[in-house]
Symmetry: D3
Subunit: 226 residues, 6 copies
């Protein structure tokens, strides 16, 4: 059945511009895989996850989507991973990945200490809590904020702010940079060139990890078939 090879990327906010950025950036990876990769958003959610309250509000929405939609894997496409742990609790049988968690795990294979370009100081606080909860403080060089909303991050005009933030993180010890918002995806390649160090787009990391782990699961399901 087709939902066996479907990855559903959930943008947990209501910004269609963010959804479009995510969707467009996934085209390249779609060409390389037989998995269907869909992106959805939440019209009733706030336009961006600016505050912890926003993350709190959308967590149940993310979980509802997962209950309602069929897929081999779900990717929560907001760096704060709203609803991730609760979603896993429920759907033991299916794979749920957060783009914040995936990007951080990916970074651990690429560099020694990671830094995160965050939208705002409030996002920075959320990222610190996430890193402490993951138990990874000693690998975290910090976050640097560009003072933008998720929607604004879709504009190409922010590149200079991104570069400044990346350099500040590098001088603080980071040797791999994470973009702290799914809507920043389009900056990855030019940012990597400008900074001269690896830059990670969280949604790509989560989708890549989903592709790998779904392939592994498919292989096991096939084995146990008669």
């Amino acid at each position: 059945m087709s939902d066996k090879k479907r990855i559903l990327v959930i943008n947990p906010n209501a910004s269609t511009r963010v959804t479009q950025v995510i969707d467009r950036e996934l085209n390249a990876i779609r060409k390389q895989t037989s998995f269907t990769i869909d992106v959805c958003d939440h019209p009733s959610a706030p336009p961006g996850i600016a505050r912890q309250q926003d993350a709190d509000m959308v967590a149940p929405l993310v979980q509802q989507t997962i209950r309602r939609e069929r897929a081999s894997a779900y990717v929560v496409a907001c760096f704060s991973d709203p609803g991730l742990t609760g979603a896993r609790e429920e759907a033991k049988g299916s794979l749920v990945l957060g783009c914040g968690e995936s990007a951080i795990l990916h970074a651990l294979t690429v560099g020694d200490q990671f830094g995160i370009i965050s939208l705002s100081d409030l996002s920075t606080l959320r990222q610190r809590r996430m890193v402490r909860m993951m138990g990874l403080t000693s690998r975290y060089a910090g976050s640097a904020a560009i003072s933008a909303t998720a929607e604004e991050a879709t504009s190409p005009l922010l590149i200079e702010k991104m570069v400044d933030a990346g350099r500040a993180l590098a001088s603080g010890g980071a040797n791999v940079i994470l973009m702290g918002c799914a809507g920043m995806a389009h900056f990855r390649s030019s940012l990597e060139d400008r900074l001269g160090m690896p830059v990670i787009d969280p949604t790509s990391s989560a989708v890549a990890m989903a592709l790998g782990l779904c392939t592994l699961r498919e292989s096991r399901l096939n084995e146990s078939d008669p």
Copy 2:
């Protein structure tokens, strides 16, 4: 105005039995203070916060209550502190305390390593995440589950399970025991006697801390009055 001296204790689940246990246990402290201490619950919430999903669902409800009700301080009366951080983000001017966080901070002044009696293994996982997020792993001796719901915890029959869990935690290094559910409040005194070590009821700790900090704030507001 009376809401200047009101502490609102929010039981974020729908169990009126849990609300009654909390309310009754606060009678003694009410006699010692001029603050009004009210307790409310959430009829539309689940009967207990068993899973992370339940905590996720009630976090926005807790924040709604805080927006709607006037009080000097709000106490979230569930050990998982659902919605706490987000509530603080919003209401910079008012005091919001979580009973999990308050109990842990209180414990740090009483013993070297704290252990938590949890309702279930799922609660244990939530507590571990909370302790890591607070950055307090090195003071945490662990959690021991009694395999009960929040409602069942209101029954006096669970005392033996509580004692067993407390002893397991003590042999693992704890020298102060936290009850990991607001509905366990009625066990505190007898558990302390049985275990021979301090036992902390989270709601009491949070209300005590609220009384102290509200008094401090009142004193400052009065000072700055003409």
Copy 3:
């Protein structure tokens, strides 16, 4: 008996100017409570706790005072909390709070990472050891010294140095500032205005916590009375 509702604040150095600052700052809180709040100092102690040796010298003096004086709660009014742990060992029945520990615990409910304005580089070293011993390194943004003695800290002239230190801590990640000396209490309000972020006076935090926890204990003693 009146000592049941008495909080004794122990300035463990010999500086009467520091004692006066502490005492005066407590007037506002005295108006809000039925507890008696007394402040004492130690004529035979050094004029300030500048070095670890000073803290070592006054630790037994603090413990003697606690043995000699009756009170519901004792507050050690020096950020280094000299003698705190030993005092607790002895007087299991009474409450002993340190102003350093209390301020740090209070800060955890207010911000994500706390920074401390310290008197000197030697104080900074003591604070780092204290934070490590408390197990709270991951919540600590560091200390910034103003190069002053405890007595000098009572002078209003230091405000600019305090502001500079606070800003340095903020740029290092702190979103709540602790004043690292009881004698700095009079700066709290203006420093908070200048920095635009919460500033914590350690003695106030300890007294507030003492008020809350003593009220809780009174309520329990009354309950168990026939």
Copy 4:
């Protein structure tokens, strides 16, 4: 060119039995992917990586293989990841994954605390050092040894020892179990059934992660083509 879609799994010891176990277990995953997955070993290496000295001896051998062979990704198929960091230093352009690191990162998405079934107490010490170096102590429930060599681990007779070790880890707080040797791969499914909790085979995790990340890289290389 075919080496663009080749994953080379390097068994860094000389045991062909271990190589065969690894190779056979990869058949299922080979059916699900267009990548070629090859397995090689090192005839001049010791029969197993029992001691740190063995890991030290094979680290340069692993790096030689990577220099000599062309592949999209290299997987070091020994839980100790000998030579991993050095190999990455050299081949910035190609992907090198360790099966120990990959298994641990995979585990972080599956459970709260992971436990490792190790071959011996010496392996346990290596795993502890690895976990500390990764900065993940607070997510590590410990290792439990079955007192076997890598070759012996290929025998089905060890299942009961594996189950005992897994249960010991679970009672110590693990809710996901890692098999600490590539030669244990054939136990995964039955061990998962017996323990009732997720069991991770390190080589499978590393290959899955390699598939995902190689797909991501292919997509980017294609994009930048004219």
Copy 5:
């Protein structure tokens, strides 16, 4: 001058039996060095450092001895290292070593995780605080108490309790055992035989480290002489 080659071992309690055990155990090392090694105690101190209060009381006494006596190096011969940090603050020019700190640093070169045989549960709490303050929690397997005073530890009858404690620590992950009291020195050799793993006597470690570091300093002083 002879005090240039003198190591003064300060037993900070009043027990001459403990002083004698320390002194006798140092005879073997005296035969191997040209340094004079003296041992003194404090008649006005308590008979043992059982509580934190005892450590607090003797800290200034230790510092007085160091100010009064001339030596190349001072060794504080109580596992709690009372007064160590303060003594170093003062005597920048001379070497002060604590036997607790030295034993722990020595252990880090011998094993992966160290365990401490402590006199009592109160000592265990002091050791935990010390290990946290040193920042070494992740190398610490814990402490196991034998419920004895420092004087009782000089009796050969305690060997079985010592063996039991050592085995408990080994099963908790320790692969090197520290004796947590200077008065236990005479047990080292037989305990090592019984446990089959390295056992460290804290005073010996501190004296060995003092011999090495004093030799280094002598060599530098000689170099800078005309």
Copy 6:
């Protein structure tokens, strides 16, 4: 036999200039001891340990030297301590010290937080991994690179770069500075004068510790002789 009183210092690279610097700096300490202190190097090793791959390559060479040569103690004279853990595994009976580990342990007795002057950014990464593996992150103020090879570090011209690096570390919280390469030994005294804080040469620390611990071991071997 003379090898009972011999310390063999192993420079694990092929640079005779580095070997000469090490050898010359040990002359002063040789005058103070009856131990023979020899220095050797590895003609087949790379000229310096610049990359992790270099450390990986020489680890087995260091272990071969230890198997081949007789000595009371072996000192690995490269800050990365290549082969240290594996060498200890083998030669349980003899003492193997690393100069990186020894310098760090020495620093813990001298200051609160240590900083390391490293040769290059790649060395910095190795030092971070070492510090995490040792479990000492909370005592580590960081590394500052001077962008030089081990051979270049033997030139007196680098002193200004060393001073700059030392000052950067001090402003980041270090109050003791470690020289991160054995070839920097000749800078110690002038660097200490310029920085006004203690500076540690790693080889000296390791040799001093070896002298102390060998003396302790000799004393025990003599005791157990009939």
